[in-house]
Amino acid sequence: MTRAILSHTLRLHLASRAHRAVTLLMMALVVIALVRAGTALDARRDAMALAVRAAAAEWAAVPPAAWLDAGVRQGQWLYLPERAERVLAAGPQLAPSYHARVGLAPAHRLDLADGAISWTPEASAFGDLDLGFVLVVLAPLWVLFLVHDAISGEKARGTLRIVFSHAVTRRRFLLARALGVAVIVIGAFALAMLIGAAIAALRGQLAGLEVATLGLALMLAAAYLGIYVALGVWISARTASPRGSLAVLSALWVVLTFAVPRLGTAAAYAWSPSPSSLEHEVDKRRALAEARRAYVEEHHPVAGSSWMAERVLVAQQALPREAELDAAYRAARREGRTLATRLSMVSPAGIAFAAILELAAADIARHEQFIVQADDHRRAMTAHYVRAMQSDEPDGRAVLDGVPAFSFVEPSRGDVRRRVLARIAILFAMAGALLVLAVRSFHRHDLR
C-alpha cells in the first residue's frame, strides 16, 4: 500500500503540467547559476593571474636605489586565492575585497579599488543569482508549491476518506506522501546540479573542485529541502484547504528565509555594537600620530630630512599599538558576527547559508584570515625594511629580493567539512522533528 501511495504521488506530480513547468524552471535556474558562476570564476582567475604577473614584474623592475621608495609608496599586492568551490556561492561580494595592497605607509592598508570603480553596487543590492541563493531562497518555495496540497488537496477533493477506507495507516500515508515529494525535489535538484557542474567542468572551469565538496553540497540540498517537505506535509495536514496551506506555508517561508536572518543580524549588531571600520581607522591614525610625536621628541628630525625613512621608523613604532587595536577590533566584530550567526540559525535558511558559504570558501571567517595574514605580512615587511635601514650600506637589490613572500594559508578544509557536516546533521534532525510533528498532528486530525 505504501508503495502504491508513493507511486501515485510520483505520477500525480509528473502528470501535472504546472508542477512539471515549475520543476523545470527551478532546474534551469540551478544550471544557469552554476555555469554563470564558473564563467565569472574563470574571468577572475585570469585577471588575478595577469595582475600577479604584472606585480612581480613591477617589483623586479624597481631600481635598486629606489628600494625604500618602492617599499613605502608602491607596496605589494596580495591576493586571496580564488577557489573552484566558489561556484557554489558568491558570498557577501563587496564586503571582503579579494586583494590587499600592503605597503609601509598605513594608508595603504587595504586597497578596495573595486568598491569605488566596480559596477556592482546596484547588482549587489539586487543580490546574486548563485547556487546559494537558488537553494536557500527560491527552492523552498518550489518545494512548498509541490507539497502544499499533499494532504489538504486530498481532503478538499474528498479522496482522503476513500484512501482511509483501505487498510492504510495515517502515518504510512503521510510518510509516503512526504517521500514522494522528497524523491522528486531532491532528485531534480541533484540532477540539475550535476548537469550544471558537468557543463562547467567541460569548459574547464572547475579545476580543483573536490568531489567531496560537491557531495556535501548535494547532502546539504537534500537536508534543507527535506525540511520544507516535512514542513509542507505538516501544514498541509493541519489545514482544511490547499489555499490555506499555500498561504500559511508562503508566510512561513517569508519569515524563515527573510525575516529571521535579517532581524537576527540587525538585532545582533544592535545588541552587541562593534566599532565601525571608520572608527577603527581613526584609532589607528591616532596611534600613528602618537608614534610620530614620540619619534619627533626623541630624534628631533629637521625639515627636509628623509621623511620616507622616518615614515618606516614611525610605522614600526606604531605597529604594537596597531596590532592591539586590530585584535580588539576583530574580536569585537567577531563577537557581533557570532551572535548574528547564532540568531540567524534559528531559521534553517541561516544554517544552510552558513554551510554553503563555508563549503564555497566564501565565508567571512576565511576573508578575515586573509586580512590577518596580510597584516602579519605587512609587519614582517616593515621589520625587514627597518633591518635594512639599520645596516650601513644596504644593498637595494638584496633588500627588494629579500622582502618576505606572501602565501595565503587556507583554513583546514577538513575542519570546514566537519562543520558543514554538523550543520547538515542539524538540518536532517530538524526535518525529522518536523515529520514527527506532522505524523502526530495528522493522527489527531478530524478527517470528516
Partner: protein, 477 residues
C-alpha cells in the same frame, strides 16, 4: 459608480468582520515599527560616531606640529559622505558604497567603510528597512489579500449574484480596487504616519523638503499597491480557483522581486563583461613603469641643475634616487624628489583617473544595460524612485565622488603652491582648503524620482488594462 462604492464597502466590511483587516494592521504595524526602529537606531549611531570622529580628526589636523608642505600634504585629510535624514527609511544602495576616505598626498584612496564591509552578514541577508518592507513585503501582502477577490467570489457563487445586478464589470473592478486600496491604506497609513515622523523625536532634523519627499514616497507606495492589486485582480479573474490564483501570483511576485533584477545583471555581464578589479592593478603596474621613466628624466634634469651650484654632488647621483639620508647630510636645500613630486603626482593621478575611468566605463555599460533590464520589474522602478528621494541611490553617490575628486585636486594644488613658493614649514593649516559637501540640487533628485514614477505609472496602467480585459472576459458561471 455607486455600485463600485457599494462593492468597495462590502470588501472592507468582509475584511473587517473576517478579522483580516485586524491581522493586516498588526502585521503592518510590526513591520513598520521594526524597520523604522532599526533605521533610526543606525542613523543615530552613525551620526554620533561621525561627529565624534570628525572632532578627533579635526583636532589632529590642526594640532599637527609644523612640518614641510609635502609632509603636511601627506598627513592627509578626511572626507566623509554625509547621511541624509531620509536614509532612515530607505537605504537604497548605500550599504554597498564606501562612506569615507583619507586624501593622502599622492594616493587618492578609494572610498571605504561601507556597511557591507562593516557588517558582511547584513550585506548578505539584506537590511530590514522600510524600503524593503514596502518594495518586497507589501506586494506579498497584497498577493495574500487580493488573490481570491474574483476567483473567491466565483467559488462561493457570489459572483453570479453580483453580476446579475445592473452592475458593469468596470464598476465591479473599480469597487474591488477601491476596497483593496482602502484595506491597505487603513492597515498601513497609521503606522507609516507615526513611523515616518517618529525619528523627529530622536532629534533627526527634518526640513520641509523632506516632508514633501516623504509624501511623494507615500504616494508612490500607493501607486505600487494599486499596481499589485490590479495584477492580483487580473490573475484572480484568469483562474477558477483561489489556490491557482495564489500560486500564479506568488510566481509573479518572485519574478518581479528576484528574478528580473537579477536576470538583468546576468545578461549585462554576458553582453558587456565588466573589467575585473584586478585589471586596474595590471594597468597600475604598467603605469608605474611609464612614470619611472619620466621620473628618471626629470630627476636627471634637476640633478644637472643642482650640480652647477653644488659641484660636490656626485655625477652618478641620478641612479641613487632612494638615498635621501645622504641628501640630508649634504645639506642641499632642494629636494630633487620633491621638485618632481607635483609633476609625478599629477601624472600618476591623471593617468590613474584615466585608467579608472576606462575600467569604470566598462562597468557603466554593464550597469546601464542591467538597469534597463531591471526596469522591466516595477519593484526596481519603485525602489529607484524612493531611493532617489531618500538620497541613497547611485546618482547621489556619483555626485559626492565628483566633489571628492575636485577637492582632491584643490587640496593638492594648495600644498604644491606652498612648495613651489619655497615655504619650508607649514605652521598654520587653517588656510588649507577643507571639504564641504554641497548637497545635490533637489531638482536632480526629483527628476530621477519623476522618471521612476512615470515607469511605475506605466506599469500600473498596463496592469489596470490587463485586469479590465480579464474581468470583462471572465466566465462568471
Amino acid at each position: 459608480m455607486n455600485a463600485a462604492w457599494t462593492i468597495a464597502r462590502h470588501e472592507l466590511a468582509i475584511a473587517y468582520h473576517s478579522r483580516r483587516l485586524l491581522l493586516l494592521s498588526g502585521v503592518a504595524t510590526a513591520l513598520v515599527a521594526i524597520a523604522v526602529a532599526q533605521g533610526a537606531h543606525d542613523h543615530v549611531r552613525d551620526r554620533d560616531e561621525r561627529a565624534r570622529l570628525a572632532a578627533i580628526v579635526d583636532a589632529e589636523w590642526h594640532g599637527q606640529e609644523p612640518r614641510s608642505p609635502h609632509a603636511t600634504h601627506h598627513f592627509g585629510t578626511w572626507v566623509t559622505k554625509p547621511r541624509t535624514a531620509l536614509s532612515i527609511f530607505d537605504r537604497g544602495v548605500e550599504d554597498y558604497l564606501g562612506q569615507h576616505t583619507v586624501l593622502d598626498a599622492h594616493v587618492k584612496t578609494p572610498l571605504v567603510g561601507s556597511t557591507a564591509e562593516d557588517d558582511p552578514l547584513r550585506a548578505l541577508f539584506g537590511g530590514f528597512d522600510l524600503g524593503f518592507v514596502l518594495a518586497v513585503l507589501l506586494p506579498l501582502l497584497v498577493v495574500f489579500g487580493a488573490h481570491d477577490a474574483v476567483a473567491g467570489d466565483k467559488q462561493r457563487g457570489t459572483l453570479k449574484a453580483t453580476l446579475s445586478q445592473p452592475i458593469r464589470r468596470r464598476s465591479y473592478l473599480a469597487g474591488k480596487l477601491i476596497g483593496q486600496l482602502a484595506i491597505f491604506a487603513i492597515a498601513f497609513a497609521p503606522p507609516l504616519l507615526v513611523g515616518l515622523f517618529a525619528p523627529v523625536w530622536i532629534g533627526v532634523d527634518y526640513q520641509l523638503a523632506d516632508v514633501a519627499r516623504l509624501l511623494a514616497m507615500f504616494a508612490a507606495a500607493l501607486v505600487y499597491v494599486a499596481l499589485f492589486v490590479f495584477v492580483a485582480l487580473g490573475v484572480s479573474a484568469s483562474t477558477h480557483r483561489p489556490s491557482s490564483a495564489l500560486a500564479v501570483l506568488l510566481g509573479v511576485w518572485i519574478a518581479v522581486v528576484f528574478l528580473v533584477p537579477r536576470a538583468g545583471v546576468l545578461v549585462a555581464e554576458a553582453v558587456h563583461p565588466p573589467a575585473a578589479p584586478e585589471a586596474l592593478h595590471h594597468a597600475q603596474a604598467e603605469l608605474r613603469a611609464a612614470i619611472e621613466e619620466r621620473r628618471a628624466e626629470a630627476f636627471a634634469r634637476v640633478v644637472s641643475e643642482l650640480r652647477r651650484d653644488h659641484p660636490e654632488i656626485p655625477a652618478d647621483f641620478a641612479v641613487r634616487r632612494g638615498d635621501h639620508g645622504g641628501r640630508a647630510e649634504a645639506g642641499w636645500q632642494v629636494d630633487p624628489t620633491g621638485v618632481f613630486a607635483s609633476e609625478a603626482n599629477a601624472l600618476v593621478n591623471d593617468e590613474r583617473a584615466r585608467r579608472i575611468a576606462e575600467v569604470r566605463a566598462s562597468g557603466e555599460r554593464a550597469q546601464a544595460l542591467a538597469s534597463m533590464i531591471a526596469l522591466a520589474s516595477p519593484m526596481t522602478a519603485f525602489q529607484r524612485g524612493t531611493s532617489a528621494l531618500a538620497g541613497t541611490d547611485l546618482a547621489r553617490h556619483r555626485h559626492f565622488e565628483a566633489q571628492v575628486d575636485r577637492f582632491f585636486t584643490t587640496f593638492g594644488d594648495h600644498f604644491n603652491r606652498l612648495w613651489a613658493s619655497n615655504v619650508r614649514l607649514v605652521t598654520d593649516v587653517s588656510h588649507a582648503p577643507s571639504f564641504r559637501y554641497q548637497p545635490e540640487p533637489a531638482a536632480a533628485a526629483w527628476a530621477r524620482f519623476g522618471r521612476a514614477a512615470l515607469a511605475l505609472l506605466a506599469f500600473t496602467c498596463g496592469a489596470a488594462a490587463f485586469a479590465m480585459v480579464r474581468i470583462t472576459r471572465y466566465d462568471a458561471r
